[in-house]
Amino acid sequence: MSATVRTLLAFALFAVALAIMPKIFPSGTALTMMSLMGVAIVFALSYNMLLGQTGLLSFGHAVYYGLAGFAAIHAMNWVVRNKIGVSLPFIPIVGAVAGLFFGIVFGSISTRRAGTVFAMISLGLGELVVAITLIMRGVFGGEEGISANRAKLEPFFGFKFGPQIEVYYLIAVWCFICVAAMYALTRTPFGRMCNAVRDNPERAEFVGYSTQRVRFIAFCLSALFAGVAGALGAITFELVNAQALSAQQSGLVLLMSYVGGVGHFFGPIIGAVLITLLQISLSDITKAWLLYFGLMFIFVVMFWPGGIAGFIDQHRPIVRSGRFGRLLPSYSALALPVAGIALGVIGIIELAHHQLVEAASEGSKMKLFGIATDSATVAPWLALVALLAVAGLVFRAIWPKAAEAFATANAAARGAAP
């Protein structure tokens, strides 16, 4: 199977998956969540055009997402007010244009430099823009933001986009287009030079490329796609406010991309789906969810720098050469201690959180993993610490074996590969 056919097949599968998801998860929440995942996928991929592809670490990417969101919401209101015959599916184009515009404006300042200084400028610009949005209430609607009613636009072949399902499909189509476009971008001369500039900017200058120009174009295109994401977000929520371009939003997209894996085109997609899911549902399960987010991030940075996609990628040659079976025994042996460590860590965090935060007003009695316990007593603490210690020791004992098994299988697989 040639690479091109495989790619086309993958995108066909992606399209099918997008199309049938609502049949599998028809509830309103699931639809909203999947719509948000679509938005997040576009946003995270646009971010990875900078971080993963061009090596630019930005702490202010939400600026383009948010500003384009405002542009889109104003466009929606303007279209409704002036009764112009534009229907909702065309609104993301406004977002793209706005994203591109602000990308050009801010990019011309910030892409003069790379590395740490670029990161700092992105942070500074982000803070500036947030401050300005709060001051210019006329345009940005203060903290309440600007709202719109998407169902008031001209119907599109009879669709009014009131129901979430219709919005889901609108986002799915745009998401597909953007993913395909961004993927295609990585396969162009420009895309390749982005990688070259990421790997070795100096050398890129000596093969005729202005690294500053490469960074600038990458930045503008990335802002364009972030703009589409911002407009899609505006359509889902029918509301945009200053938080859409805040530092938290920028941090979130960084988290998505990094946890998913910046070294792999599809990494940010995994990250976007996973983080969106966790963000919306984890808070129902635990009040310490932000802490888990932080720990997850640090864990990925320290032990899994390739992210989830990187981890899977490492195993690809092994799976391909049919050697994954040989890893199973040592991996399944690891599963138990890993589960033990996870359980121990989660238990201790939950216990500590309950004792420190809630015990004062609600008493120290609590339910941990469905078991009634008391965070003020020593027993649960001891049990969890013991669990953690035992699991940790077992892990340390078997880890070298698993690592060795991986190394052997990997070497064999790569040796076998053409």
Binding site: V117, L125, G294
Partner: protein, 310 residues
Amino acid sequence: MLELITFSTLNGVLYGMLLFMMASGLTLIFSMMGVLNFAHASFYMIGAYFGFEISRRIGFWPGFIVAPLLVGAIGALVERYGLRRVHKYGHVAELLFTFGLAFIIEELVQMFWGKLPVDYRVPPSLDFVAFRLFDTTYPAYRMFMLATAVAMFVFLFLVLKRTRVGLIIQAALTHPSMVAMLGHDVPRVFMAVFGVGAALAGLAGVIAGPALVTQPSMAALLGPILFVVIVVGGLGSLAGAFVASLLIGLVQTFAVAINASLADVIGPSADIFGDLGRVTVAQIAPVIPYLLLVLVLVFRPTGLLGNRES
């Protein structure tokens, strides 16, 4: 008017010196290790909370001594078991590590001490009026803060100029790759620099906690300003960090006192700027540092006194 100027100058210098206590450590760490430590302001916060915890149990003065040392130890541990591990993945990973760390520290502080500001008080021995100008008073505690910051500054200056360690650090500032060749145990030097930087930030936290506010968002509020300071001053330049600290301290303090807006200056034609035309300088005081950052990077990319490109 005179009192406004006097007190604004005092407050501006004080704020600037506080910034410098943190920016100096941050600059040292960045220059030697290439790590822009996002968690630096978090050490400041930990310092304030440790100071609070110790002062309510034993007293302010023990906290004044012990808390910075504890924070320094934590910093050294972070370097040894966290940063060093990530080092092999490059500077971006290191930066992201400290970014995540800052996040976790904030969450942990919220868990241990709650989300509301804690009642970290000025010690009774310093709780009096230092002087009175017209009828505005200036608290002695603020003078103490100023004195501590100046003492620290002098100490740092002497260490850098007069000791062997200082010479190595200075060499490392200008020629980061050279340190290894001087035959020093580089990892240990890094750990020490990181620890000392954290301890300095911790000390700043201990003394700033009672005067300002000790709360979980104090790190997130200050962190970005610190980056502004070291970038505006020039990455790798201690003198630049000092100048930029004072500059930002004074600018931010004085900006608050200015009520003029664009409309006042250019008249009704400012209406074309919409809401921006009516915004006063005082209103935007806290974002002036970021404006400064962008301007400096556009017109003088190496910063005021810097000579390193990145």
